[in-house]
């Protein structure tokens, strides 16, 4: 029964060889990629008119996905750091409304107005972050309170100032044409991708860089993985979390601005309830609800699935009374597929 101890030579006999494709599939974002491809093929097959996978079709759902996606990148970072922000959806409305009010009521130029919006977003992010870290309340409840406050402020302020629940005339601002080019232009008419897709790509690149290559990224994973342990080895937990809240607010300002510039008007209900879609996108893409794991690429693939589903249902011409049912089923299917791929590839795990 007794054998002699093996000589400790290379290669390590304690590691079984695993093919590359298997190692790839275990990564959650690859599961999300496969889910996205399946959803794409599914709606391409369902679409009776053949537009879903045509340039105009792709452009449409890419454009819808982009605003989910920009937010999902930021929200994924925040969730990896172990927090959520339920005010993120309403913030896209607040920032858009503020921009509109500054332009149409205060008569400011586009760029000065944008600067104020950015400052506002930073303040709200700081508020959320500092309240969460100081009070040690769950971020769910703190940002929910912020969300309610902003919701009321959005309609209250807008009505008090304009007598309506909408702000328009953003295209009359000085500097709008440049703004239009930066936030609202399209590639060209045969392949009319919106510039928001470009912003989304930028968010993915930046997010991935920070998360994978910088010490800030290391800290984000650490504070989400185990706050106390991170604090004990000297990671500035509070600063890391607060900066993630600010990141989410800034992303909301970007999306709010893109919406305002593209549509030239903003209504007070905009963005309400969207915080959940951002969270869904992140989770579908493999981000842990409890923090400590996830990726920006995965979250973006989640956003892509949401965008394709939103428009795919219309292209398929299904009875749209049932759209939420379809939505729920596809969402569930995508997550299941993601898990299944990982389990298959990862072998037994219990």
């Amino acid at each position: 029964m007794a054998t002699t101890a093996p000589a400790p030579t290379q290669p390590d006999e304690r590691i079984r060889h695993t093919p590359l494709w298997r190692r790839m599939l275990v990564r959650p974002s690859v599961g999300a990629l496969i889910a996205a491809i399946v959803v794409f093929l599914f709606f391409s097959a369902m679409d009776t008119t053949g537009t879903f996978n045509s340039p105009t079709g792709v452009t449409s759902w890419m454009s819808v996905s982009a605003s989910y996606g920009i937010m999902a990148c930021a929200v994924a970072l925040l969730m990896i750091s172990g927090e959520v922000d339920l005010s993120s959806g309403v913030m896209t409305g607040s920032t858009g409304l503020l921009l509109g009010l500054l332009i149409s009521e205060a008569g400011m130029g586009f760029w000065p107005a944008l600067a104020i919006v950015v400052v506002f977003a930073i303040c709200i992010g700081l508020l959320n972050g500092l309240l969460v870290t100081w009070t040690r309340l769950p971020s769910f409840i703190v940002t929910l309170a912020t969300m309610f406050v902003l919701l009321g402020v959005n309609s209250g302020v807008t009505q008090a100032i304009t007598g309506q629940v909408r702000v328009g005339g953003i295209d009359r601002a000085t500097g709008y044409s440049a703004a239009q080019w930066v936030f609202g232009s399209r590639l060209d008419s045969s392949w009319p991708l919106t510039v928001s897709v470009g912003w989304w790509l930028l968010a993915i690149l930046l997010g991935t860089w920070v998360l994978q290559r910088t010490r800030q990224g290391n800290w984000i994973y650490a504070v989400g993985g185990d706050k106390n342990a991170a604090r004990n080895v000297g990671v500035p937990v509070r600063r890391t979390k607060v900066s993630m809240f600010v990141t989410v607010s800034l992303a909301a300002a970007l999306v709010g601005t893109i919406n305002a510039v593209e549509l030239t008007s903003v209504s007070a209900g905009q963005g309400t309830g969207y915080e959940f879609y951002y969270i869904i996108a992140a989770v579908v893409g493999g981000t842990l609800m409890t923090g400590g794991a996830g990726s920006v690429v995965g979250a973006s693939l989640g956003a892509l699935i949401l965008g394709m589903t939103t428009l795919g249902i219309q292209y398929a011409g299904w009875d749209s009374t049932w759209r939420f049912t379809f939505f729920g089923l596809i969402l569930f299917g995508a997550v299941m597929l993601n898990i299944w791929v990982r389990d298959r590839a990862g072998g037994s795990s219990t």
């Binding site: 029964m1 101890a5 006999e13 590691i15 079984r16 275990v26 219990t350």
Partner: protein
Amino acid sequence: MTGTTPSAAARPGRDSPGDMYLRLEDVGKTFGSVVALEGVSMSVNHGRITCVLGDNGAGKSTLIKILSGVHKNDSGTMFVGGQPTVFESPSDARDAGIATVFQDLATIPLMSVWRNFFLGREPQTGWGPFRRMDIARGKEICREELTLFGIDLRDPDQPIGTMSGGERQAVAIARAVYFGAEVVILDEPTSALGVKQSGRVLKFVKDARDRGIGVVLITHNPHHAYMVGDEFVLLTRGKMTNRWLKEDVELDELIAAMAGGAELADLAHELDS
């Protein structure tokens, strides 16, 4: 588990005096690409203490997690009372009379000491819809059992997460000893314990053996192992590389095997200089 009951008629081990209760044959376990255990065969007998020794990462915890139903072995077979068995969950193992102290202790930080002590096996009282936990009795038993291990409890309602590491470990051991019926498995039970508490634990291990219970003890302390063990199994890098009976081995030999021979001598020399 596939309906096995412990039976005194299980075939006895080749070279063990007690009844063989648990037996592993050629068992292996991999995690993804990590081979944690390969081709391990061993047995646990009633009334004997089997010490599993080995370096860090040798696979000792993995081995006992298979015995206690936390992991399922990928290859090989486990026999319980002579029947090939697969534990679907730790509660199957528990139902087969196997109580385990895990290296991570398996306690719920926010719950009180006594609730942790009885978790999964709460004492009950009352009947029908009024069936409820017997809280007073639970607290009392918990306090008594811990006193036996040298822990003087301030308050059985204290959340276990606020206790010191050693106090927590003592709770986990006291629980296993209190509930262990056939086999008690202890994964480094004395690692966080004080001298006095360690002594108590070793004494309890011996007492359990004398009551006919099979004990599996994992430890890095050769003195402790040699003091109580009847049989020693050495794991090296996931494989079983040696096996002795108490009669056939000296303490020094054991220390040398655990430490990798010559190397330790150098170290002792350096330290003394």
